[in-house]
């Protein structure tokens, strides 16, 4: 018998979303605050060869997605089902707890980074607590609507801020594309370390492991997951190539938010500084990040502790609010971001492959 069913009732059909929604969910959780500053950490390691690291990372991520897809389709369930199938029920609870904390930390990092961005670029006096409270109320409102609303928000947050990306082309008249030459000026080791740095920015695709049971015709959704990765990787590549040719290397390393600094060159007749519009729009990009991660965290809490998801959500948001307002300095924000990056790297790039092999092994053993 499939032991996963012990924990999860099957999801009713009216709560599920269309397969193509997986694209928007994955793409919108992957593009968040990391995209504003990834060039900096990348260039520190790989210089202008950083774009190669992005491609390496993309290929690695696609392999991971393939593993995730293999696991979810053979077990037909979410992460908890997979782990309880291969490692037992108690370990699955432990892993679930780990991912719950991880996704809570994810939302804290995204929220706090966004608040910091507003404080530095626009309003230095913005109180962290009140702003986080309002955003979290909005998130509660969305997540209370259930998974379909969360998916809907990620759909809108994908399309509405789209107009931002062509605006980076304003840098082209001041760009020097020969900066990118010579190619392969760095060792393979450096390139791989660069792609490790990159992995911190594109966290979020592991959400497939949790939203899988909510997809109608999950087999059809697979191609959308791959497309989402290809999309985010090409957005990162696009921004990397533009910023590498626009900034010189040492200048890029000095900038905290290279992506935002690129907007400083934009000057339109009706708006002197574009960053203000851009940062306000970024709220739409940040919103689904927090919604999806808190939805996953609260769903995990529901599955592990057998409580109602709404209660779990209230509790987790409360903690997120408190922790977010306790992070005061830039150094602390950086620390939390790096912590999340390290945990995320472990959770995605170490744990998932191991789980994949164990699951495939367990499946073979059980067949015999």
């Amino acid at each position: 018998m499939n032991r996963g069913v012990v924990m999860n009732k099957p999801i009713p059909e009216q709560k599920k979303v269309a397969p193509f929604m997986l694209f928007y969910i994955v793409a919108s959780i992957q593009i968040g605050v990391g995209i504003l500053s990834f060039q900096r950490d990348l260039v520190k390691v790989t210089g202008y060869d950083g774009w190669i690291s992005i491609i390496i990372n993309g290929i690695g991520t696609i392999i991971l997605i393939w593993m995730i897809v293999q696991m979810t389709t053979t077990i037909e369930g979410d992460l908890l089902d997979i782990v309880s199938f291969s490692l037992g029920k108690w370990i699955s609870k432990l892993i679930g707890l780990f991912y719950m904390l991880y996704f809570s930390l994810f939302s804290i990092t995204v929220l706090r980074n966004y608040v910091e961005m507003i404080q530095v670029w626009m309003f230095p006096k913005l109180p962290i607590f009140w702003f986080s409270l309002v955003i979290l109320l909005l998130v509660l409102y969305v997540v209370y609507g259930g998974f379909r609303t969360v998916a809907g928000i990620s759909f809108f947050s994908f399309f509405l801020p789209m107009y931002i990306f062509p605006l980076f082309l304003f840098t082209v008249p001041h760009a020097d594309f020969t900066n990118l030459l010579p190619i392969f000026d760095h060792s393979v080791k450096e390139l791989f370390f660069g792609s490790y740095q990159m992995s911190l920015s594109i966290l979020g695709f592991e959400s497939i492991l949790f939203v899988y049971p909510f997809l109608k015709e999950p087999k059809k959704a697979i191609k959308w997951a791959y497309l989402a990765i290809i999309f985010t990787i090409s957005i990162y590549l696009y921004l990397a190539l533009l910023s590498f040719s626009y900034f010189s290397e040492a200048q890029l390393v000095k900038n905290h938010w290279p992506t935002l600094t690129m907007w400083k060159i934009i000057r339109l007749p009706f708006v002197e500084r574009f960053e203000y519009i851009g940062i306000a729009t970024w709220c739409l990009i940040v919103l689904p990040n927090i919604c999806i991660s808190l939805w996953i965290a609260s769903r995990l809490a529901k599955q592990i502790f057998f409580i109602r998801q709404k209660q779990a959500l209230l509790f987790i948001s409360g903690i997120v609010l408190i922790v977010t307002s306790m992070i005061m300095k830039r150094s602390q924000v950086l620390f939390v971001s790096q912590l999340l990056g390290k945990i995320g790297f472990f959770a995605n790039y170490c744990f998932i492959p191991i789980l994949y092999f164990i699951t495939m092994f367990a499946k073979k053993v059980k067949k015999q």
């Binding site: 040492a250 400083k264 500084r273």
Partner: protein, 357 residues
Amino acid sequence: MKQIQLITLLFFFLLLSGCVEREILDEIILMEGIGFDYVEGGDITGTILYPDYKKETEPENVTYSATGEIMKTILQDIERQAARPIAFGSLEIVIFDLELAKKRGILDLIDAFQRDPAIGSGIYLAISENKAKELFKGEYGLRGNARFISMLIDHNIRHEDLPKTNLQRFMGDFYQQGKTPYLPLIKQNSKTKIELSGVALLKYGKIVDVVSNEQSFFFKLLADKYSNGLHRVEVDGKEAAVQSIISTNRFELTSRDPLHITVHIKIGGTINEFTGNKLTDSFIKKIEKKFEKEIQKHCTQLIKRFQEKEIDPIGFGHFVKSKTRNFDFNQWWDSEYSQMEVTIKPVVTIDEEGIIE
């Protein structure tokens, strides 16, 4: 339930709008220009310039000055004199006085402009032969002095001999190891007139050399990918003014040991003015040949000069780096750059000669 949620949300939005500082346009000083002058003893005098808009007349140029060590203390002093807070958002031009750029360097002053999120990276930096304080006190145009100076620079970049420059390019060149930055040089002729007097070449924030107006046409050919401008060519005692319509340059690494670079410059132009009687095809050929020779001569002279002064505003170092793996900049600046040979290969084609023969 839904309504209560909505009302609480609205409540918090109202609450939050009081959380940040308001800045009403009429109640702040929108600084458009800032200038720095050298004072004996190492201090700096900073002068800010803003237009005071009045009803139905031209804006009045208002300046405030203060002396201090770093920009922010100067600004603090200026705030003490001003009745309204000063905002940076519409800064257009930053002027450094020549003496300051020679003796103290301008780098530490630029940091604040990069650091401030409110300041765009498209603002112009320029060096003034006169004191910035005096420069700002003139009356140059209908739209205020800062606008005038920035439009002067903008126009000369677009249509004349000034290579592209702004804050981003300056900092980009500065941080690029194989390049040194340059800035436009301006001069006040009278209370109501200023002019562009050349291009200042800097190293580590200090002026090392100046390219005069006569040579800035050739400098732009080398430093900027596309350029236009006018140059006068004299052949057989007759003079022709050739307007370059399109020009491109392309670098080629012809040999590594010894290091040799060929710069291909292509110009397509028209003849604007001619003092002779009749422009024949053969004469146009002569003008083209003469023009090519002059480009060769002046550009080679310029590069030789840059090599002697150990500056590289054209970016040869950056070019060679983009062709070499594991490039060593120390060695480049120590020996390779000064020994580098450059050949200029210009091709001039004059396609049009105006509407008369």
